[in-house]
Subunit: 144 residues, 2 copies
């Protein structure tokens, strides 16, 4: 047996569903009508972005909720087509309420990237990777 | 301005790239030839799954690395088409080295799900949602 290569949803545990939904909506993501007071599902052309109460998410997994940390060991990346687009996205995200974590700069692997954090500290990298094309849906074209 | 609705990559910070690459490969995910000793990229039909050193990921964001916690406030979901498939995927993941976190059971929202953790504690939910169809690529068909 094997698992099919898919990530159906990424669920971020948040302190305030309404506030985080407003934040991501302002960024440009559109909530599905399947969302309710307890959970938000964003249309993302593939893997769904979900927001759920942090304590509820821990409880769903049968784990003790922990205190949010500055670094949780996970980052989501949103790639863009040029350095200029990265700079514009970074400024726009910060204007929309993201916390600036690292200003965009040239990075060791030959790309250009910065980091922002959402209202709960979840990390997003805003990146341009000159070695990987994005397809029409914005997905990275990885070599085989 | 808005950001396009996309998550290009989910990067999981890991202690041992080779061990985690072997774990996810055993699950059935295929590393891209763009991978190297420092980073693994898995083909996932959309959002890429990346593995990167936990300390390196923190450093890339300019943050202090933190100690991994039992619950990091994020979960990845892999949805399946029936309860039987969830049970089989759970058993297979545990056989492949995942840590069982919660055995699959009926959950409050009307679905059926369990949780496992990868070698670094990153949470995966294995779920059947009877209200959401999966398309040919395995992506959830969210209502508008």
């Amino acid at each position: 047996m094997t698992l099919a290569p898919r990530i159906t949803m990424i669920t971020l545990g948040v302190a305030d569903i309404a506030a985080s939904t407003a934040f991501y909506s302002k960024l440009g993501f559109k909530p599905s009508s399947a969302s309710n007071d307890q959970v938000t599902f964003f249309h993302m052309k593939g893997t769904v972005l979900g927001l759920f109460g942090r304590d509820s998410l821990a409880a769903d997994a049968g784990l003790e909720p922990t205190r949010p940390q500055s670094f949780e060991g996970v980052a989501l990346a949103h790639n863009l087509s040029s350095r200029e687009e990265v700079d514009a996205a970074f400024a726009f995200a910060v204007d929309s309420g993201a916390r600036p974590v690292k200003k965009p700069e040239e990075v060791f692997w030959g790309g250009y990237s910065g980091y922002v954090a959402d209202p709960d500290g979840h990390l997003w990298e805003l990146a341009h990777n000159p070695f990987m094309e994005l397809d029409a849906d914005g997905h990275m074209q990885l070599p085989q």
